[in-house]
C-alpha cells in the first residue's frame, strides 16, 4: 500500500489556512503594488485552495439530512408483511439473541401500524408518514440494507459522521474539504445546522479530528450571529471595525517587513480579511428576506411545525448556491427520533416536521436545476428493531436499516439491498456506513482510498480500512 507523505509540520504545511482564494488575489495585488517584497508569497499553496478531484465528479455539494435518534425503517421505507403474522410472538430462534441497547432482544415482535403504498413510476414503497417525500422516489436510490457497528446513539452518530464509533476521527465533511478545498471565498466549506438540542456527542461530530482545524465543520446558528463571533459586540461599529483591521494590518505588515519569507505571517493577515468578509457574507447567506413567499411555502415555512427544519433546508439550498460543499442538517437534534416508547406519537411528530421541508428541498433543487449536481442523503444513525420496547416503542437497530440518496448523479427510482423477513438484519447487498461514505466521496470525484493523511505512523483515510463504492447507485 503506498503511503503518501502529507505535510505535517508547520514548515511543511504552509499554514495559509482559512484565507481562501482571496489570499492569492490579495497577495498578487500587493506584489503588483510593490508592497510585498517577496513575490513568491503569491504562490503559497493554500490548504483551502480548490484541488482537482481524482476523476470527474457527479456532485459538487452534499446535503446530508440527519434524522437524529434513529428513524424506523420498518415504519417508513421497508414494509414487512411477515411481522403481521408474527405479531406478539418472540423472534424465531433462527434470529439469535442480539445484544441491544435496552436489553429488549427477547421482546415480542411488533408490526407497523402504517399504511404502505407504492409510489412513482418506480413503485417504491413508502409509508403514509412520508406522503410528500414519497412523491420524489423516482429521484432516489433507497438503500434498504444499511448497517453500522454501534449500539448506542453517541457512538453511532459519531460513526455516521466519521466512520468510527470511537471519537477522534475527522468527519466526512472535513475529509471532503481536505480533499477538494473550498469552492467559495467568504464562507466555510463545511456547515452544520441543528434544529433542536445539542447533537449527541457535540461538536466532535463535525470535528477535523487529526486533520488541521482548517477543515473543521462550522455550526451555523439560527439565532444571533450565524457563526460564533462572526461580528464584534454592539460596542464596536462597522466602520470602527474597518479602522481596527486597517491598523492591525499596518502593524502586522510593519512587523513582517524583514520577514517576507514567512508566509504564515501573511496568511494571518489574510485570515483577518476573510473574517471581515465573512462578517458580511455570513448574514447575507442566511438572510431569507429575498426568498419569495412561494419558496418559503414550498419548504413549509408557513407552518409552525415545519417552519424550523424548513428554514434550515432552505438555508442549505442557499449555501449550496454559495459554494458550500458539505451541509449537514440535523432533524430532531439531540436524539428526538429515539422512539423507545410510543413510536406512533414520536414518529408522527418527527415525520410531520421533516416531510414537507425535505420534499420542498428536493423540489426546489430540481426546479432550479441544482439537483443534478447536489447530492442529498437521508438517514439516521441506525434504524429500529422489529421487536417492541415497552409495548409500543422500538429499540436501536444497527444491523439493518434504510437510507436514501437523491441527485448528484444518483440513479432515480431504485432500491438496493434487502433486510430479512422481519427487518432485523441486512441480508443482501448490504451497505456499511463506510460504503455510504465511499459512495458519497465517489460522487464528489474522490477515491476514498486515495484521500490520505499521515497520522501517528499511519496513512489515514476517510473509510479507515474498509468501504466500497456502491457503484450501482449511480446513473451512469
Amino acid at each position: 500500500m503506498p503511503h503518501k507523505r502529507f505535510a505535517h509540520s508547520r514548515r511543511d504545511f504552509l499554514c495559509n489556512a482559512g484565507s481562501g482564494l482571496g489570499s492569492l488575489a490579495l497577495a498578487s495585488m500587493l506584489a503588483g503594488d510593490g508592497l510585498l517584497p517577496n513575490a513568491n508569497a503569491a504562490t503559497v499553496p493554500d490548504p483551502l485552495q480548490p484541488k482537482p478531484p481524482h476523476f470527474k465528479p457527479t456532485a459538487k455539494s452534499v446535503i446530508w439530512l440527519f434524522m437524529e435518534g434513529g428513524p424506523s425503517h420498518l415504519d417508513l421505507f421497508d414494509p414487512k408483511p411477515a411481522l403481521e403474522k408474527l405479531a406478539g410472538k418472540p423472534m424465531p430462534e433462527s434470529f439469535g439473541h442480539p445484544i441491544t441497547a435496552m436489553g429488549t432482544g427477547s421482546n415480542t415482535l411488533m408490526p407497523s401500524k402504517r399504511i404502505f403504498k407504492q409510489h412513482g413510476q418506480s413503485g417504491i414503497w413508502v409509508s403514509d408518514w412520508y406522503p410528500e417525500i414519497a412523491s420524489h422516489v423516482d429521484d432516489m436510490t433507497v438503500f434498504r440494507a444499511c448497517w453500522a457497528d454501534g449500539l448506542n446513539h453517541v457512538g453511532s452518530v459519531c460513526q455516521m459522521n466519521t466512520c468510527s464509533i470511537l471519537a477522534g476521527r475527522p468527519a466526512l465533511g472535513a475529509w471532503i474539504t481536505y480533499g477538494l478545498g473550498s469552492a467559495n471565498q467568504n464562507l466555510p466549506s463545511f456547515v452544520v445546522l441543528t434544529d433542536a438540542g445539542e447533537v449527541l456527542g457535540g461538536p466532535k461530530n463535525w470535528s477535523s479530528g487529526f486533520l488541521p482545524a482548517t477543515y473543521e465543520g462550522t455550526q451555523l446558528r439560527n439565532q444571533g450571529d450565524p457563526i460564533l463571533d462572526l461580528a464584534p459586540p454592539e460596542t464596536i461599529g462597522k466602520q470602527q471595525q474597518r479602522g481596527r483591521l486597517d491598523l492591525l494590518k499596518t502593524l502586522n505588515r510593519h512587523f513582517g517587513e524583514n520577514k517576507s519569507d514567512d508566509t504564515e505571517l501573511e496568511a494571518r493577515i489574510n485570515a483577518y480579511e476573510l473574517a471581515y468578509r465573512m462578517q458580511a457574507a455570513g448574514p447575507e447567506a442566511v438572510d431569507l428576506t429575498k426568498e419569495s413567499d412561494a419558496t418559503k411555502k414550498l419548504y413549509g415555512m408557513d407552518d409552525e411545525i415545519t417552519a424550523k427544519f424548513g428554514t434550515n433546508c432552505l438555508l442549505a439550498r442557499r449555501l449550496v448556491e454559495r459554494g458550500v460543499r458539505f451541509i449537514e442538517l440535523y432533524n430532531g437534534s439531540g436524539s428526538a427520533w429515539d422512539a423507545h416508547n410510543d413510536i406512533e406519537g414520536n414518529h408522527s411528530k418527527m415525520c410531520r416536521s421533516s416531510d414537507k421541508p425535505i420534499a420542498g428541498l428536493l423540489a426546489d433543487l430540481k426546479g432550479r436545476g441544482m439537483l443534478n449536481d447536489t447530492l442529498v442523503v437521508w438517514g439516521g444513525e441506525f434504524g429500529r428493531t422489529p421487536f417492541n420496547e415497552k409495548g409500543d416503542g422500538r429499540d436501536h437497530n444497527p444491523w439493518g436499516f434504510t437510507m436514501w440518496a437523491a441527485g448528484g448523479g444518483i440513479r432515480g427510482g431504485q432500491v438496493i439491498g434487502t433486510t430479512d423477513e422481519i427487518g432485523l438484519r441486512g441480508i443482501d447487498k448490504r451497505a456499511h456506513v463506510t460504503d455510504i461514505h465511499a459512495t458519497v466521496l465517489h460522487a464528489l470525484g474522490l477515491n476514498h482510498v486515495d484521500v490520505t493523511f499521515l497520522h501517528n505512523g499511519r496513512s489515514e483515510r476517510p473509510t479507515i480500512v474498509t468501504g466500497e463504492v456502491i457503484k450501482e447507485s449511480f446513473a451512469s
Binding site: 514548515r11 489556512a17 439473541h97 445539542e198 499596518t250 502593524l251 505512523g457
Partner: protein, 740 residues
C-alpha cells in the same frame, strides 16, 4: 475466516526459530543502545556555548551554512519566558535584564524561570496533551469525572519539583504498587485513567477492550514513541512491532480497573475524619434509616432496570456470589458496578405525594446535623489491579474484541527485549505486579527509547521541531533524526544526570543555537528550506493557552492562583450549554491560567479549540498549527477579547495618563516589552485621529462604546474607545502571538 487465521498464526509460530525481524529492522537507529558520542571538532569555536552547539555547528559547516547571529536581548527574554513559563516578561523584567551587564545575566534569567511555579503550569500542558487529559467520560452523556483535576495538579507539581523522569514514569504506570502509601503516586496512575468511556455501553467485553486499546496506544506512543496502535489488527506495516507485541503490552494492564476513591489525606487525618463521620452517622442514624426505608425500594427498582438492560451473561456475573467470580468476571463486574449505585437524590426523583413530603421533611431534619457532617473525604482517581490474578489476554484477530486467538503473556517490545518480564506481586498488596515490571523496564537506563523520546520532546517544545521530527513516532514514518548524535548525547546526558528534566532544559536554552536570531537568510534557505539544520531559530505561533494567558497577563487580569478544581470561564455568546454542564465560575476564577480550564471531552473550550488544542480522545505529541478565520474572529470579535482590551486600556491609562504618545509607549512595553518605533508611533497617532471621528459619530448616534473601566475626568469617550481598539489590535497582532 477465523479458522484460517488460527492456522496462519500457528504456522508462523511453528516457524518461530526464524527471526521475525529483518536485519535492517535489527539495525534501526532507535533500537540501538544510546551512545555517548564525542563532541565533534568544528571550525567556528565562537559558535560554541556548550556541547549542543558542536553537533549543530558540525552539520551546518558540512553544508557551508552558519549559525545566525545572537538575537537581541528583548527577543531572547520573550522567547525564553514564553518557552519556560508560558507568559510574557513584564516591562520591569525587561528593564532588569537589559540593565544586567554581568556575563551570566541570561543564565540568571533561566534559573529564575526554571524555579518559577509557572514553569510547571507551562510544561504540564505539554504532558497533558500526551495523557489525552480530560475531565469527562466522552460519549453521550460526557459526565464529569469529578476528581480528574488532581492528576493535572500532580503533573504541575512533578515538573515544579523537578521530579526525576524515571520516577515520573514509574508513578504514572505503577504508583499504586510501588508507593501505595503516597496519595500523589496513586493519583499519578490517573495517566491511564483518562480513557474515553461509554458508561452506558451494554457490551462490557467490547467496552473493556476499547479501554485497554486506548491505554496500550497511549503508553506506547507517550513513553516509547512507538505507534503501537498500528499493530492492533496486524503486525505493524513499517516498524518491527509484532501483532503479539500489541497484546503483550496490553497484558500488563489486563487486570486494571479505575480506582476512583484514592484518599488524599494522611492516615492520621483519615482516622480523625472517620471519627467525625461516625459521630455524625450515629446521631443521624434514625433519620437516615427512615430515608433508606423510603428510598431503598426505589433504588432496587433502578438497579433492576439497569441490570435488565445487560445481556444475560453479564446479569449472571452480577448475580454471582463474590467468591465465585473469576478474574475476567471481576473485570465485568467492576465495569458495571459504578452504574448500579444510585444516590438519594436520584432515587428520590420518583417519589410522589405524601412520600415526597416525608422525604423532604427528613432531609430538613438531617440538615440540622449539618455542623457535625464532615462531608466527603477528598479523593483522587487513578488505576489499580483487581487482585493478584489477571484474566487471560488473547491476541485478537484483526483487533476484534470477539475474535480471540492464542493467549499471550505480558511482554516488552520484542525487538528490544524479547525476554519474559520478571513479575512479582507486591508484598502486602492485592495486585499482580505486572505494571511494576513494565514501569521498571520503561524507566530503565538500558531502554533505548525512553530517554531519547523524552529529550526529543523537550527539544521539540523549545524549537518547535524535534531532532526526530515526530515526537511520538520514532518509527520509520516519523522520519530520520536530523542530528542523531546530538539526540544520543542528550539522551545519555539525561540518564547520567539522574533523569533531570530541568538540567536538560538548561542545557538546551543555554546553547548558542537556542539564542540565535530568527532572521531569514536566503542562501541558507536554498540549501535547507525547512531549517532542519537550525541555521536560524524557528519562529512559531504560540499555542491558544499561551495567547489567552498572555492577553490576561498584559491586561492585568490574570489570576495567578495555582491548582485545585478546574474553572469554567465564559463561553462565546451563542454557544449552547455543553452536555455534562458548564457552571460558570466566579468572575475572579474565570481569569485563571488556561491549564486550569475544565476540559470537557466532547466540547473543548472554544477559543483553545480554534487554536488547535488537540482532541482529547487520543494522545497528541505534536499539535497542528493552523491559521484560520475562526481564530481571527475569536480574538477580534469575541466578547472576552474586547473585555481584555478594555482592561488593558485601563491599565495603560492608569500607568501612562492621558497623553497619547505615553499611552502608545506604555502599551508597547506591556504587550511586546519594547518601545514603538517612529513608524509605529505615527501610524497609531493617525489611527487615533481617524478612529476618534468614527467613534464620535457613534456617540452622537447614541450607540454604546467599549471603554476603559476608569475614565479620567474629562477624558473624551471617543478617545477612550479608540484606545481600547488600539490595545485590542496589539493583542491580535502577529508580534503578540508569535515567539520570535
Amino acid at each position: 475466516m477465523r479458522t484460517v487465521c488460527v492456522i496462519v498464526v500457528s504456522v508462523l509460530c511453528l516457524g518461530a526459530a526464524k527471526d521475525p525481524f529483518t536485519p535492517a529492522q535489527r539495525k534501526y537507529w532507535a533500537f540501538q543502545p544510546v551512545t555517548r558520542p564525542q563532541s565533534p571538532i568544528v571550525q567556528h569555536q565562537n559558535w560554541i556555548a556548550n556541547f549542543i552547539d558542536s553537533f549543530i555547528a558540525q552539520r551546518l559547516e558540512s553544508k557551508g551554512l552558519k549559525l545566525a547571529p545572537l538575537t537581541d536581548r528583548i527577543t531572547l527574554l520573550r522567547r525564553i519566558t514564553f518557552d519556560l513559563i508560558g507568559l510574557p516578561p513584564a516591562p520591569e523584567e525587561v528593564d532588569a535584564f537589559l540593565a544586567d551587564q554581568s556575563p551570566n545575566a541570561y543564565e540568571k534569567v533561566v534559573d529564575r524561570l526554571l524555579a518559577s511555579p509557572h514553569y510547571g503550569e507551562r510544561w504540564a500542558r505539554h504532558w497533558l496533551d500526551l495523557a489525552r487529559y480530560a475531565e469527562s467520560e466522552g460519549f453521550k452523556a460526557d459526565e464529569t469525572r469529578p476528581n480528574a483535576w488532581r492528576y493535572r495538579d500532580y503533573v504541575i507539581r512533578s515538573f515544579n519539583e523537578n521530579k526525576s523522569y524515571d520516577r515520573f514514569i514509574k508513578e504514572q504506570i505503577a504508583g499504586d504498587e510501588l508507593w501505595p502509601n503516597d496519595p500523589w503516586a496513586r493519583v499519578a496512575t490517573g495517566f491511564n485513567r483518562h480513557y474515553p468511556d461509554e458508561s452506558n455501553a451494554r457490551n462490557l467485553v467490547q467496552r473493556r477492550q476499547e479501554i485497554l486499546n486506548d491505554i496500550t496506544d497511549t503508553v506506547g506512543s507517550t513513553f516509547l514513541g512507538m505507534t503501537y496502535g498500528c499493530a492492533r489488527c496486524h503486525t505493524h506495516k513499517f516498524d518491527p512491532i509484532l501483532h503479539t507485541d500489541y497484546y503483550r503490552l496490553q497484558a500488563f494492564f489486563a487486570n486494571t480497573a479505575a480506582d476512583d476513591a484514592i484518599p488524599m489525606i494522611s492516615a492520621e487525618e483519615m482516622s480523625q475524619y472517620r471519627v467525625k463521620r461516625a459521630e455524625w452517622e450515629e446521631q443521624t442514624k434514625p433519620i437516615r434509616d427512615q430515608i433508606a426505608l423510603l428510598l431503598e425500594p426505589r433504588k432496587q427498582a433502578l438497579i433492576k432496570e439497569y441490570v435488565d438492560k445487560y445481556p444475560p451473561e453479564i446479569q449472571a456475573i452480577l448475580a454471582k456470589p463474590a467468591g465465585d467470580r473469576n478474574p475476567f468476571e471481576w473485570q465485568m463486574y467492576y465495569k458495571a458496578q459504578p452504574y448500579l449505585v444510585f444516590d438519594d437524590d436520584t432515587a428520590s426523583k420518583s417519589l410522589k405525594g405524601e412520600a415526597r413530603n416525608q422525604y423532604q421533611a427528613l432531609l430538613k431534619d438531617l440538615k440540622r446535623f449539618g455542623d457535625l457532617d464532615p462531608g466527603e473525604a477528598p479523593v483522587g482517581i487513578g488505576m489499580k489491579d483487581l487482585g493478584d490474578r489477571a484474566p487471560a489476554t488473547h491476541l485478537l484477530n484483526v483487533g476484534a474484541y470477539d475474535a480471540p486467538l492464542e493467549e499471550v503473556q505480558p511482554g516488552f517490545l520484542s525487538i528490544v527485549n524479547p525476554n519474559p518480564p520478571k513479575i512479582v506481586p507486591p508484598a502486602g498488596l492485592n495486585s499482580t505486579g505486572r505494571r511494576t515490571a513494565l514501569a521498571n523496564w520503561l524507566a530503565s537506563p538500558e531502554n533505548p527509547l525512553t530517554a531519547r523520546v523524552m529529550v526529543n520532546r523537550i527539544w521539540y517544545h523549545h524549537f518547535g521541531q524535534g531532532i526526530a521530527a515526530d515526537p511520538s513516532d520514532f518509527g520509520a514514518m516519523g522520519g530520520r533524526p536530523s542530528h542523531p548524535e546530538l539526540l544520543d548525547w542528550l539522551a545519555s546526558e539525561f540518564v547520567r544526570s539522574g533523569w533531570d528534566v530541568k538540567a536538560i532544559h538548561k542545557l538546551i536554552v543555554m546553547s548558542r543555537t537556542y539564542q540565535q536570531s530568527s532572521a531569514f537568510d536566503e542562501a541558507a534557505a536554498k540549501e535547507d528550506p525547512r531549517d532542519k539544520l537550525l541555521w536560524r531559530f524557528p519562529r512559531e505561533r504560540l499555542e491558544g493557552e499561551v495567547i489567552r494567558d498572555a492577553a490576561l497577563a498584559v491586561s492585568g487580569l490574570l489570576n495567578e492562583k495555582m491548582g485545585g478544581p478546574s474553572v469554567f470561564p465564559e463561553l462565546p455568546t451563542g454557544t449552547g450549554r455543553p452536555r455534562g454542564g458548564w457552571k460558570l465560575s466566579e468572575p475572579e476564577d474565570r481569569n485563571r491560567r488556561s491549564v486550569y480550564i475544565f476540559v470537557r471531552r466532547n466540547t473543548r473550550y472554544p477559543m483553545l479549540e480554534a487554536f488547535d488544542m488537540p482532541d482529547t480522545h487520543e494522545s497528541c505529541g505534536r499539535r497542528n498549527k493552523t491559521i484560520t478565520a475562526p481564530q481571527a474572529m475569536a480574538l477580534l470579535n469575541g466578547k472576552l477579547s474586547v473585555e481584555w482590551a478594555q482592561a488593558f486600556a485601563d491599565r495603560v491609562l492608569a500607568q501612562a495618563g492621558v497623553d497619547t504618545s505615553a499611552q502608545i509607549d506604555r502599551a508597547y512595553r506591556l504587550a511586546f516589552g519594547r518601545h514603538p518605533d517612529g513608524f509605529e508611533k505615527d501610524s497609531i497617532q493617525t489611527f487615533f485621529q481617524k478612529q476618534k471621528q468614527v467613534i464620535a459619530a457613534r456617540v452622537d448616534a447614541g450607540e454604546k462604546l467599549a471603554l476603559p473601566a476608569a475614565m479620567p475626568p474629562g477624558f473624551d469617550p471617543a478617545q477612550g474607545a479608540a484606545l481600547v481598539d488600539f490595545c485590542q489590535m496589539l493583542l491580535n497582532s502577529n508580534e503578540f502571538v508569535y515567539r520570535n
